[in-house]
Symmetry: C2
Subunit: 373 residues, 2 copies
């Protein structure tokens, strides 16, 4: 976690500044970032929350290719509608290929080949996958970037009532996901844009960042199934186009949105659910062998108890270590300082900055109770 006191000069939002300063991301090129170890841990936690809620709706996970043949987009009629932000290239065999910003065409192709009866419906397929977009003006760090992680889900139904049910399930799942990641959000009726369809709503996270849509759900109807001839046989033996919905979440955007809604002047205040580590153990002075050894023992006990923990055993001043712990937003700190002579460590809660002296033998129990609450 390479921290720094200064944010890069192009950092234009609080989340961009804090993600850079806390060593969560590293810029490779304009709008192109690496997730460093702590940033990657947060991303995975968000991904796992998304996956859990998707699975609860009965949606099934697959993995579609980012690389798509332009042919499919000709079928749907979307090829000419897409702007320059869609990355296209001609392959070695002179076929036009593209990096798909969404997957309505690919998933409709899968369903028309593999599903043909009302008995197999409804089906909801989803994936968590990297998307590419050649943004005119990449901004706000990972928020408007050229490479990002998305969850996209697609539902296929035999009638409008089915679509309403799946759409409702997804909307509930989205509420659980965004609340679960510590976001304060609102739901707004929205323009369906190039995705199409007749009704859509977007989930907007509160914060300073002017961009921050984190989710968008669409009732598509038969736009793709009709143009791509994706039909099933209904109860009466008649051929009908599938009734579709699609449901997107900006998985990497949630990371930035969570920071926009959870920080103070000292740094990030991670919601416990997505914190890269739950606890940091800080020996106030590593040259004091009692402090260092106690800290190391506590670190091992946390590890043995499967509680994600960091040990800050750098030979730095307590003040500078506290400043880093503040910046990185670890929810619970266990400070092993002077009171160790009385057998006590200080537990500090990052959110609200409350402190409590706890006997070292009771630290793990105290923390476990806190995390289970």
């Amino acid at each position: 976690m390479p921290t720094s006191k200064e944010a890069p000069s192009d950092a234009d939002t609080i989340s961009h500044k804090l993600m850079s300063r806390a060593g969560l991301i590293d810029k490779t090129s304009s709008g192109v970032y690496t997730y460093l170890p702590a940033g990657y841990r947060v991303l995975r936690k968000v991904e796992d929350i998304v996956r859990k809620e998707m699975n609860r709706t009965g949606a099934i996970e697959i993995l579609m290719p980012a690389l798509q043949p332009a042919n499919l987009w000709k079928e749907s009629g979307r090829l000419d509608k897409m702007g320059e932000e869609m990355i296209r290239f001609t392959d070695r065999h002179k076929r036009l290929m593209l990096f798909g910003p969404t997957h309505e065409e690919v998933v409709t192709d899968i369903v028309r080949k593999n599903y043909n009866s009302w008995k197999q419906l409804p089906v909801i397929l989803y994936q968590i996958q990297t998307k590419f977009r050649d943004e005119m003006r990449p901004r706000f760090g990972i928020v408007r970037s050229r490479e990002f992680l998305m969850k996209d889900a697609y539902s296929f139904e035999m009638n409008e009532e089915g679509l309403d049910i799946s759409y409702g399930k997804m909307k509930e799942a989205y509420k659980n996901i965004f609340s679960g990641c510590g976001l304060d959000f609102s739901i707004q009726q929205a323009d369906s844009g190039v995705i199409g369809g007749k009704f859509s709503e977007e989930f907007v996270a509160k914060g300073e960042c002017p961009e921050l849509e984190v989710g968008h759900i669409f009732k598509l109807g038969t736009q793709y199934s009709e143009s791509m001839k994706a039909f099933f046989v209904d109860r009466n033996g008649e051929e009908k186009p599938f009734i579709m919905g699609c449901y997107g979440i900006g998985v990497s955007r949630i990371v930035a949105a969570a920071i926009e809604g959870n920080y103070d002047e000292k740094g990030i205040i991670w919601p416990v659910s997505i914190a890269p580590f739950k606890v940091i153990v800080i020996p106030a002075n590593t040259e004091n062998s009692q402090m260092l050894e106690t800290a190391e023992k506590l670190y091992k006990s946390f590890t043995d108890s499967n509680i994600e923990v960091l040990l800050d055993d750098r030979n730095e001043s307590a003040g500078s270590k506290f400043a880093d712990a503040d910046l990185c937003g670890i929810p619970l700190w266990v400070i092993v300082g002077r009171k160790i002579t009385e057998g006590k460590a200080e537990i500090r809660i990052r959110r609200g900055r409350k402190s409590e002296d706890v006997e070292t033998g009771r630290v793990i129990e105290w923390v476990s109770d806190f995390l289970n609450r």
Copy 2:
């Protein structure tokens, strides 16, 4: 799991045939595949085995961008060495970008910006990430495809001894990974090709597929750190280039290799560790309510015991359900058939096709014992 009796006409290896027939993958375009639900489950299991072994070596997970600026490749001198299989495009601001087939340049850039002292070494960074390659002749299904999942790791050391240690750790981890995924493999000294460096070994899985390299590890030395000016300060205060190693695994290739080494004339025989489901419950006749209800109860008990289970409650003949279970390679079958009148189900082991009649009340225990062995 949309199964079929026929393999696609372009399927040229047993793994390609069986992955298509068992509904693990769906072809979107030449060399471009979707992982369908069961295929995706296998891929994730392989990924988790790779991740666990990487973490055990002390390597730290990050996520680098697939999108890379050509500038970095000019610095390393590799831009002109790469052939047409590297996908390049000019972005909206006329900058040359590429989809990185490997990440030596990006990771060296990260390390030169964030590490500068021998005290921070060694460091091993790794990622599990989708790679793209515009293959001249995509073949063998997911083996020589245009989009695939790789694990790539990079080690940075202060001296050659350090490199030897990290290289040795990686080699051990690779053995554990391939054995853990049920592969029979050999290790061969190899040509380092366009990656460079002075010594490399490749891991070759046994099977009919003429391609099937599943891993390749390299002692790179200072080739990238010197050309890209990635230096650290050593114990004596002198600036030195990092000594590097790099270590790749074809994560998606492991899936195909596992099939090449584990099948019979009826279908796949999944190693238990990477099977999409551990158990399938098959009511021989779904119109017999005692069979169906017992099967449903067993299915629920497995789910409650966190044992990954499928229920084949299709109204098909027992024979055709057995054929699908054989094809899909589920390790353990629980068949609820005629002996249900005596309170017994049949447990069949896919590998070796041994059978045993077990009282329905003891089925979960029997299976748990088998899986824990």
